[in-house]
Symmetry: C2
Subunit: 140 residues, 2 copies
């Protein structure tokens, strides 16, 4: 949970992004940003909010995730065709995706070097490079 100082910080970040610091947005940011980097789906964020006694609708969770993504407070990671993951780590990095758990793990971007990529076709702008290492966890 956020302490008072963090609430103020987040209020400022939201205002700077042109978003009103509503209770729902502050509560969701608390879940997102007060436990280190996270990879979370809309459904899971909704559940965690409920567990903390926060009343938010799933529609608002989706709205918030997209608004945060537009505001560069969050990024969307496409690894699974059936659900969207949102990542609070905005630095350059890549991912392990553990397919049988639906779990993402960060790979620090500073460690990784990609060589030999052809340049983008004429006029095209590179928006980003995603490296996804797909894993299967042991049966236990």
């Amino acid at each position: 949970m956020y302490d008072d100082r963090e609430i103020l910080l987040m209020k400022t970040r939201l205002r700077e992004a042109g978003l009103r610091p509503t209770n729902q947005r502050l509560a969701l940011s608390s879940i997102l940003y007060s436990q280190g980097n996270r990879h979370i789906t809309a459904e899971r964020l909704h559940i965690e909010a409920q567990e903390q006694g926060i009343r938010v609708s799933l529609a608002t969770v989706y709205n918030t995730l997209h608004q945060f993504t537009s505001a560069d407070l969050l990024r969307e990671v496409v690894v699974d065709s059936s659900r969207s993951y949102f990542d609070t780590n905005m630095g350059p990095h890549h991912h392990f995706f553990i397919e049988n758990k639906g779990e993402l793990v960060d790979i620090d971007g500073d460690d990784v070097e990609i060589r030999g990529l052809p340049s983008a076709p004429d006029g095209h702008v590179i928006k980003g490079i995603d490296v996804i290492v797909r894993l299967v966890a042991p049966k236990t």
Copy 2:
């Protein structure tokens, strides 16, 4: 369109995969494999089939795409959370994804080298490594 020799070849490949070489499957393979490597969605494959006067239901297109994927005749590429792309190129390679066109372009895997990836967590098996270079095409 397939010629007779190619039809026989595909019949064999299907049988080897434990799939009966039905008209629908042969027609869809013709669209998939007789024009070089392709990246295609279920919807587009369905449309192209109709255009060639082949009667196939969308459900059968989906079934076929998944059966071909299980049989290693096709691979699924996850780049867009709202639709699935299927890739006929089974060799090692990566992709440009042109976001404003929904279009995939192959990057030969032999040219690309990735250094510095940490090893997978204990016991985890690497199923594959995907590199996706996200592009935006010029407005023109």
